[in-house]
Symmetry: C2
Subunit: 420 residues, 2 copies
């Protein structure tokens, strides 16, 4: 069978499974998640030995240690995967909620009820834990899922998928609820994302190239995740100690994440007092600083590399920070409008009007007053899980939990109404 | 300037306008809508004379009378356009609503507030009233809009856009809030729908070819509107008189619309009693009936054309109806799953369990019990306006009113929280 026929066959099976999953009982879905969790724990040795085959190949192909670290399944990570399945079972089932209902003058009762999206295509890189996390959230929300992980994790993903699909079948979930594409690499992705008759949404998770390929070529609707060029603006009326704590947290705690800060904006009236202390603190934490001309003029005790236009547009994902002194909150908001990626933006201020202005005028998935941008995360928001962070505006914006894997359908109760 | 530069320049202006529009006062937006309404009424002669140029060209190009009818601006239609602007001004402003807010254990208050999507690209055919209706809903919901109507309505659309943009500017809306693409035809559409840096969503409205081109080629997210292959299922426990009224309404009242019925499904236990009367009634209203073998065997007083597989998959948009006798509600639901386009589906029954089963298991934008599918419409649902009916599952499903032209952003109130 050629690759396209193979993937169409899988997608058609997913669509059939999604029909039954859409009205599966909560107890059945939870039972499946708990049995999947047990099966993961009962097959640790098998998972680790299959994972070792991937690691061996990765070493032969001289992939980086950071890459191999993400690829590696340790006993601790396997336990976390199993726990994640249990945690997902414990979350409330989003399906069936009637979010509103109203009555029309003709007596029709019109309501909106939460239903699964249908079939979700997940395209991701070589982190095997994503296979389990994505499957868990999709099943709990009543969706069928087709997984396409990075080819370097193929043996690990095949082992994981075999274990969890066997458990899901034993629990009574329909055949095809969880499927892994096991061949075809990039070509398989290109086929999958044009199967509009079977797939309802594609969610790409990974680096810029992966996401760009999907956005540029998918005819199936896409939820875009990813890029975060996040700013912290320190207003004239800021508490310096609070600002320092938040900036250190937003830049240093985990600089590789999409919700880490990349540019610091400081009001001119406090720049002389605030910037030298702040830059010394950041330098002591090994942060490289790329500042505007005013920053360089103010800060003399720490090396300031002149910031270029490109620096302000860059998601460094590293211990590098752009710094700019601004004349006003309006200049800060304009800078964010020009360079931001609409992910997470923060103001540090004790001025009421400025806090409200920033919240109202900054266009981003998450806008903070006096808190670190690092909180943009499904777990931190209280969703109990996350399938990605959407940086687009349609359907889902910000961290995507179970609700974001659902859609609403109208249900209408009548007693014979016809349209005049 | 070449076409691409021209459209990019327009799109960049839209993006700037959208920033200001996103926090424009409700009073400013309403004032603009009312001034646009007055301006339309004050320029009737100009609108009619420009429209006559389009009609003359359409006649020279031998376009159909139905096409010319949709293109024509009568005094009545101009009054309706002006009234539509007034009605939109009277609707509540969706922007700024905080739809929920909760507190996390660390004291963070996390909320979701309704904000505009940003820049909306509307692509539609040669009905000049869409120009006004779309602009009104976009402005009220704080979005900038780029309009691309059918080339046959270009003079009408230029005249309308000139009148309403002048009025909008006088009312204080930012320059570029409403723009019309005045050149380039299909090529302009192809440029527009790949401007991801400026355009947030494309909404195509029109025939299958127009929508297919956008879905296949847009890299900007699309809200798909359109195709409706809608079913009415008459259950064993149906009230025959109610069923007859609803079926006549769903098929005959306006057969060209997407929420009209295309296939009638009838439970086998009542087919012998119900179908002959129903088919006679439909035939008396000039409906052509294409029935399954059982239908042909039962109905002898009316001509039944044998239904093909293709008939069940066709949106006739005309006085033609497919009819199928089914063994059970499950067969009806399976038939809808196989042939439906997930638009509007209805069951006629007085059986409680079957009504609930149909509502739960049928996957469509709108699922009805004992009412006509013709109600799937923003006005009928009480939205006060409609920019289209979404037949996809992401973001908006079913009739799209003002709320569907918005998105949610997270706003977070902290007092110095950092992530551990």
């Amino acid at each position: 069978m050629d690759l396209k026929d193979h993937i169409v066959e899988m997608a058609a099976l997913s669509k059939l499974a999604s029909k039954k999953l859409s009205y599966a009982e909560t107890t059945t879905k939870n039972k499946a998640l708990l049995m999947m969790s047990d099966a993961i724990l009962n097959n640790k040795d098998y998972l680790i030995s299959e994972n070792e085959r991937d690691i061996k190949l990765a070493r032969e192909n001289e992939l980086s240690e950071a890459f191999i670290d993400r690829l590696t399944l340790t006993e601790k990570r396997i336990n976390e995967m199993a726990q994640g399945l249990k945690d997902t079972a414990a979350l409330p089932d989003p399906i069936g909620e009637v979010v509103k209902m109203w009555k029309r003058p003709n007596g029709l009762q019109i309501g909106q009820t939460r239903v699964p999206i249908g079939v979700i295509g997940m395209i991701y890189e070589s982190r095997p834990n994503v296979t389990v996390d994505a499957a868990a959230l999709c099943i709990k929300s009543g969706n069928a899922v087709i997984l396409k992980g990075g080819k370097e994790a193929l043996n690990s993903n095949l082992a994981i998928t075999k274990i969890i699909t066997d458990a899901a079948a034993k629990a009574g979930l329909p055949d095809g609820s969880i499927q892994l594409i096991d061949a075809g690499g990039r070509e398989a992705v290109n086929i999958l994302m044009r199967l509009n008759d079977y797939i309802d949404v594609i969610i790409p998770r990974g680096g810029g190239n992966l996401i760009r390929n999907v956005v540029q070529n998918s005819t199936v609707p896409v939820i875009q995740t990813g890029v975060g060029n996040c700013h912290v603006y320190v207003d004239k009326a800021a508490d310096f100690k609070m600002a320092e704590n938040i900036i250190v947290n937003a830049k240093v705690q985990r600089p590789s994440t999409c919700n880490a800060m990349e540019t610091l904006l400081v009001h001119k009236d406090i720049a002389k007092d605030f910037l030298p202390i702040m830059c010394e603190k950041l330098a002591s934490l090994h942060v490289e600083i790329r500042g505007c001309a005013k920053t360089s003029a103010i800060v003399k005790t720490v090396k300031i590399i002149p910031a270029t236009e490109k620096d302000f547009a860059t998601e460094f994902s590293d211990l590098i920070l752009s710094v700019k002194v601004v004349d006003s909150i309006d200049e800060a908001i304009d800078h964010i409008f020009k360079y931001g990626t609409k992910h997470s933006e923060a103001i540090i201020t004790n001025n009421y009007a400025n806090s409200q202005k920033f919240l109202a005028e900054v266009d981003a998935a998450a806008v903070y007053v006096n808190a670190s941008t690092r909180f943009t995360d499904g777990g931190q928001f209280g969703f109990g899980g996350e399938i990605g962070i959407s940086t687009q505006k349609l359907h889902a914006r910000g961290p995507m939990g179970l609700n974001e894997l659902t859609t609403l359908k109208y249900i209408i109760y009548g007693n014979g109404q016809i349209r005049e």
